[in-house]
Amino acid sequence: MSGDLRLVWVYPDLLSTYGDRGNLLVLERRARLRGINVECVFVNSDQPVPRDGDIYLLGGGEDLPQVLAARRLRADGGLAEAAGRGAVVFAVCAGYQLLGHEFGGADGEPTAGLGILDMRSGRGERRAVGEIVADVDPALGVPALTGFENHQGVTRLGPDAAPLAQVSVGIGNGDGTEGALAGRVLGTYLHGPALVRNPGLADLLLGWVVGPMRPLPPAQDELALTLRRERLDAVAP
């Protein structure tokens, strides 16, 4: 379990609005604490996406940067190729939407996405802003998601994508489901540093790459678990 892990942050120049770096930092920390060497690769939108990453991270973005990012990623082809050979992709918010077949552009118009996830997104009536809690598909063995959402997207999944979770507080995809999962490609409306409050999800992604891992020593997990509890208590119905 000491092999190198390559984390690729895709287009931080376009897709990084609010704390998206947190996902990279959490994965890096949790891997290092288990003795795994981590290499973080930052790929700006004027650079080719490397094909040989282990985990690809996509963050949120405003409308125009989202459209540009989708256009460039389609032309580059690297992310789709990596996902096709089984690399892990974790995308939040605008990054999540652009993994689908289409999403709402700057004026809500349908805009072509990457088609890595079987789903379509459009613009909803109202902006979804606030805390979100969602129960993860039990097959994944991850406790409830807690996070913050801030988007106006409505997402419908096709038959080749499964919902990541069922919403208990908040909006998510807009039909009671939240996020999407297909193979090792995972997307969510929990924006920004979604993995901070969901260390179980972070370990799921790491485990997909390196195989079974021992849990972290409790002292190293205590603060994150306290934060989880605080946020879940704060919105408990």
Binding site: S16, Y18, G22, L64, P65, V129, F148, N150
Partner: protein
């Protein structure tokens, strides 16, 4: 003032009375309530109150309150009475109150929330608009910044007589002002680059070298500047270099000061005289003030968003000076603490760090990830007790800062 229609006069005097009541009742500094009541009686009040005055509007993500204060100081040599919403009440009601309370002021220097620039520019027919910077800020309620920049562009194109003073080092600001007919470009610096890696005009990756930037595709580039901050000196339009020698700390305030000098130039104030006024400013709405509590000298710094935290961390005295960080997530702070992950806290390593505020656990997790050692405290009192003697730097976001000010007494 006597030229105001009866209804506006009534709105102003009722509003003014409400301000007094609010202050006497200890409910606030009275800078908003008067305007709220006045505007309800007369929605066109701001336009009426602004009529016949030379208005300066100051906007941007960070530095509005301080720059408003510095511009007022730089214009002091004119000897005119100046109206200003000096305490940061930067929406229409706060501006109306400031104008209503200073009927004789021929000049008004008004801090304006980013979102309201188009409507306030129309209402006040401002002589000068100051555009400082744009970066991510409380995104659960604030508009997206590219959208803001677009609205500013449209508003400025509809106000051809307005003189714009704009920071050329911030690409989004440069784009917002690039089609305005009268612009004084200032090199005020930009430490925070994470919201401007891409060309605001075409979206391509920007190439940067020092403060210079150019788009690789459409060649949109930093305009030539008339005023510049260089180190801690200002370079004036004639190329003369002068030390700023401000009493206010930090690089961000040096930037704000150079912007204030550029505004003073529009009003014909000589740089030497304007500088003298700037140097007299020692604290702004409680920020940068030093207060003593049980033998510990506390300095208060406000940081509301990632770019602001970058500047605040930059102001800190070097280790081992202890620091307390306090973070809340009430509505004025933004209810979302995700921004914590945009701040690099590693510069805090190697000094005692105390963590407080209503969202201290969020902050603690963030510091743990950056390998910064810290101690969680219940509040400023506990941090002061732990420090015992000497000095303590305190950085808080909006309501956390206000809570600490309340504990330390309004005198701060």
């Amino acid at each position: 003032m006597n030229k105001l229609p009866l209804r506006a006069r009534l709105a102003t005097s009722l509003g003014g009375a409400a301000s007094k009541v609010s202050r006497l009742a200890g409910r606030g500094d009275g800078s908003v309530i008067g305007g709220v009541i006045g505007l309800r009686l007369e929605p066109g009040l701001l336009a009426m109150l602004a009529q016949g005055r030379q208005v300066v509007l100051v906007t941007g993500t960070n530095g509005k309150t301080t720059t408003t204060r510095l511009i007022t100081a730089a214009l002091a040599p004119l000897g005119e009475h100046i109206a200003s919403n000096a305490f940061g009440a930067n929406m229409e009601a706060g501006m109306a109150s400031a104008l209503g309370q200073a009927p004789d002021a021929s000049i008004a220097v008004l801090e304006c929330d980013e979102k309201f620039i188009p409507s306030v520019l129309r209402a006040t027919r401002a002589r000068v608009v100051v555009l400082l910077n744009l970066s991510r800020d409380q995104m659960d309620r604030a508009a997206e910044i590219w959208l803001l920049a677009r609205h500013w562009r449209d508003a400025l194109s509809a106000a051809p007589d307005c003189h714009v003073v704009a920071n050329a080092d911030d690409p989004l600001i440069a784009w917002a002002a690039s089609d305005a007919p009268h612009v004084t470009w200032v090199s005020a610096g930009q430490r925070w680059h994470d919201d401007s890696w891409c060309c605001p005009r075409c979206g391509s990756h920007l190439r940067r070298s020092g403060e210079e930037w150019i788009c690789g595709e459409c060649a949109f580039t930093r305009p030539p500047v008339r005023w510049a901050l260089s180190g801690s000196d200002v370079i004036d339009p004639a190329g003369r270099v002068r030390p700023l020698d401000l009493a206010l700390p930090g690089r961000a305030n040096q930037s704000n000061a150079v912007v204030a000098l550029a505004v003073a130039e529009v009003f014909g104030v000589d740089v030497v005289h304007a500088l003298r006024g700037l140097r007299d400013v020692t604290s702004v709405a409680g920020r940068y003030t030093t207060v003593e509590l049980r033998g510990v000298e506390i300095r208060l710094l406000l940081a509301k968003n990632p770019a602001g935290w970058l500047e605040a961390l930059d102001v800190l005295r070097p280790p081992p000076e202890p620091v307390m960080l306090a973070v809340n997530a009430q509505v004025p702070d933004g209810r979302d603490t995700s921004w914590l992950w945009d701040v690099d806290y590693r510069p805090l390593r190697g000094r005692p760090v105390f963590v407080g505020g209503e969202r201290r656990t969020d902050l603690a997790v963030r510091l743990e990830t950056d390998d910064v050692r810290f101690e969680v405290v219940a509040g400023i009192d506990a941090a002061v007790d732990r420090v015992g003697h000497g000095r303590l730097e305190v950085i808080g976001n909006y309501t956390a800062f206000q809570q600490i000010r309340t504990v330390l007494g309004r005198a701060a």
